[in-house]
Amino acid sequence: MGALEDFFLTYQSAIAFIGIDALLALSVYATLSCGQLSLANAGFMAIGAYTAALLTLHTRLPFAVTLIAGALAPAVIAVPLGLPVLRLRGVFLAIATIGFGEVVRLGLVNWDYTNGALGLVSIPQRARLWTIYLVLAIALYFFSRLRGSRMGYALEAIREDEAAARTMGIDTTAAKLSMFVLGAALAGLAGGLEAHFTFMVAPAGYDFSRAVDMLVYAVVGGATSYLGPPVGAAFLTLLPEVLRAIGSTVGLTPGPLRLFVSGAILLAVVLFLPNGIISFSARFGALTTRRERS
């Protein structure tokens, strides 16, 4: 028991970040599941984090209420944003959402009420490991129920061929919008949890590279199943810890090595494992059976 406790104390923050990153990866998965590539989630995360942090700092509301408010605020903004933006095709949706994310970040940088670029500090640490993983478990349960439901099939149909899905009578706009809003809410939740775990929020934490990180978790893990994004988040969040150990023994500076390895892994996954690392066993199995046959 003592060993297990030691392990938790040492890696508490790493475990917490895995949970938060898994939520963020799921928020990107929400839109990817109907074939839409949105990079707005760092912006939504910022809105959620600031909402929750401001409520905690200025009111006496319980933590659960501030968290829910942090999820609702970006969701409410996602509706009017999503309606025009989701009509854009593929890459243009990505660009428009990059623009949105940067506008949110720069807005926060210029907002004196929240200390501009410095952000808010000394937020009480109210998020515990169990809160983070409870939220993650609820999100995973929701996605597991979604698969195989009427809505789940509709999303798959939209991902494969949007025009055909519409011809079949699926309300593609409503389906895409609801996943966009769901993604915004999840990103906001993750933002609120992170703010109450790391004591602080600052605009620099929600920049373009954060949005890219979330996308990378989802893609590396595998965006064809709701289990992929959390696996990708866990893998890539633990990677720096492992690389730090390797880097110090080989004598390389950890920063460049970490960047290089995560870039190389992403490239390898896109090229050789298009369905992510969760498809690895299936893919490997297929390879061996093919070999046996030939």
């Binding site: 933006v85 854009l88 428009a96 623009g99 970490r258 960047l259 490239l267 090229l271």
Partner: protein, 292 residues
Amino acid sequence: MGQQVINGFFLGSIYALFAVGYTLVFGVLDILNLAHQAVFMLGAFCALALVGGLHLSFALALPLAVLFSGAMGILLDRIAFRPLRGRAHSNMSGLISSIAAATIFEAIALQIFGPDVSRFPFGSFPDRQFRVAGAVVSTIQLTIVAVSVVLMALLTYLLKKTRLGRQIRAVAESPRAARILGINVDRVIAASFFISSALGGAAGVLFALAFNNLSPDMGRSVELKGLAVIILGGMGSVTGAVTAGFAIGLIEVFTVAYLGSSYRDAVSFAVLFLVLLVWPRGLFGRVALREA
């Protein structure tokens, strides 16, 4: 006022040069190449290594760095785009593999040059300032505008008048039809990447010369500015990218002058966002942005 116009024009010429390469690859492949900013950064560092390490003159370092960037473009095509060609959703996975390639390039620059700001050695480019009609112009600014205008004119000539240019335009129209007509599509795409990246690298060298401030993540802010430029200009349109590059440069300089420097980027993104929502074709675009 005159000074602001000159500064905007000068900044805009770098944005335009960067965005022309960006939009060229998009026009040909329908892929957003997010590694363009990394090639921009590599071009700048290559020039720095040649000038600072090998003590070459700047006039020699610029073309060498441009060639190097072009070669990086061909490498980029080989590792990140060519393997995906013909797969389903290849423009989505191409976007992601270009992010991966950008990360790898950035890691290499970080390993070689370190995370701190690098600068050209003092006096490696003679800078003299003189007054024209009440505004101050420097030789560096003039060089930058001249180089970028010449390069953009060369690109226009190449696309309009040469055999390769016709082939590039044919592939942009329809890769399948181009292949039936006997065009080696893979070679034309590789050539487009060479041209695009060479121009991106040249923009990087000029940017480094203008601000004398090089770091492995220097391309990131320009990348987002470049997106605003190609959207405003109309995706895939070289003329549009040039016009919009100058427009964004001027907008940025006037924003700083009249609204304050904290809003300099916000205005470009507001432009990007509004153009996409209200007027998605941009100034000179012809591609369909929305599905039927």
